[in-house]
Symmetry: C2
């Protein structure tokens, strides 16, 4: 895997892209991040929406962004062009920077801005053709009043534990419940299911990331007259579902085949899922043609 | 602050001590750590106990330690001697290492071992003379089934949020409750209180770190015939307490003056606290004389 990595204004090859071990990002995972995607190796999809969320994460963790959003946007676009990949995976990380080794947010003065880029490789085609298997794991999503999953940060082990629990049990990914036994999201994706003609997805107060792709899908559903209901759904609510999928910037809309090897979905992708996938694809196409 | 920093076998000055931004430690705080202290700049206090806990953290996060505990121990001792500080602060960090950017623990093959050392500077004397003010913060300790606070990892923002909430409200540090409203610990310290002649401290199942200094204090209490009770204690249980302190490797036993500016402790340090502090000091002295 070949990476191009920008650190504070300069682009490095992957061997040279290093930061101080005294950076709070290393010491306590004190960083915020976004993952973007460029479908044509130049323009970044839903860039403004991602940057708005970066601001939310920064606010939650009382981060001083190193620069204006305008500057960050310009640097991101410049980097993607310079990297020159056909389709680009882009990860922007802003760490709190170097300070004394303690927990005081104000002791680290200068954040570091990192942009990791590589050629985007899609997930295996069969995941989209046959769907994936989700496991409802024993690990629960971080509660909002411990560490709000709505902030996209460098503290990602809650998700990692969930993912690896699912993986070592032979599943593709995890579905995490919160402490009230309601569905939240997958390890790095939002969660949707369909029943009848209606699209259901956990509401933000369940303790989830306000996914850019999640919000985009909700918008597409509105546009195509698919009723959407956000709310609190238990494991039992899934037993009557007709279709199910997870969503993320990298996965777009990925169908789920089964949950806990109990609930099985018959048609992959289901009618509503396919309709949303088609609309998604067309909207991306228009987005890039409209340039 | 001058640091000496060991990375995978070599000691660097602080400007040169860098790791790849592709290291999982940077990407998602995927690391485990221990903080040690040498009182004489040579020998590390309670080293074996710390390394045992490192093993526990490694197990929880399915870490392959890069080397045997014996090797890690030798390297730590060698480093502390080479660094040559009079009294040494030592932070050992083991990151998962470089892998593809995903959550799969098995995709990162070679962990990195980092040892950060600096001259140990004690906390201000007045903290020990007058005690510190704790705030019961709104942030709750991570629940055991989301991310076990018993593992010492690079995901430390739950503590950082708690600390900064307390700090910006004019307190020295935080006291975190769990979701059952029981006391757990401070942001980077364990929590004790005294009532009558008995020492009370939250039990491990409250969701706390099994502090090396905590366990050492419990042992000292047994040795000096102070009854110890570990258990579940609410905010109300504190209202009848006579003394209170927090403990950590760096703080040893630090008296608490007030909790939420409501509960005030009259004598700082109280009788039992002082007795434990004296025994602590004498035991350290003997430990280093006995060498």
């Amino acid at each position: 895997m070949e990476y191009k990595i920008y650190i504070n204004g300069k682009i490095f090859n992957e061997d040279e892209a290093k930061i101080s071990v005294l950076d709070r990002g290393v010491i306590c995972g004190d960083s915020i991040y976004e993952v973007f995607r460029s479908y044509d190796g130049r323009r970044i999809f839903l860039l403004d929406e991602h940057l708005e969320r970066l601001k939310t994460s920064a606010l939650y963790l009382r981060f001083n962004l190193p620069n204006t959003l305008e500057y960050i946007k310009d640097e991101l676009e410049r980097c993607v062009q310079e990297a020159g990949f056909k389709k680009t995976y882009i990860r922007l990380i802003i760490t709190r920077g170097i300070g004394d080794i303690n927990l005081d947010f104000t002791d680290a003065k200068r954040p570091s801005m990192i942009i990791i880029m590589k050629e985007f490789h899609p997930f295996p085609d069969e995941y989209y053709r046959n769907g994936i298997d989700l496991k409802i794991v024993s690990i629960r999503r971080n509660p909002i009043d411990s560490f709000n999953p709505g902030a996209k940060s460098g503290n990602y082990l809650n998700s990692a534990l969930a993912y690896n629990e699912a993986k070592t049990s032979g599943f593709h990914d995890a579905l995490l419940l919160n402490h009230q036994n309601f569905c939240t999201e997958s390890s790095t994706s939002n969660f949707f299911f369909v029943q009848g003609d209606t699209l259901y997805t956990p509401s933000l107060d369940m303790g989830i990331l306000s996914g850019i792709t999640r919000n985009f899908i909700i918008r597409l559903a509105h546009d195509t007259k698919i009723p959407v209901q956000e709310g609190a759904f238990t494991r039992q609510d899934l037993s009557n579902a007709d279709e199910c999928f997870i969503s993320s910037t990298l996965k777009e809309i990925m169908p789920v085949k089964s949950i806990d090897h109990e609930k099985e979905f018959l048609e992959i992708p289901g009618i509503v899922t396919r309709k949303l996938q088609d609309t998604f694809r067309n909207t991306v196409k228009k987005y890039y043609e409209g340039r």
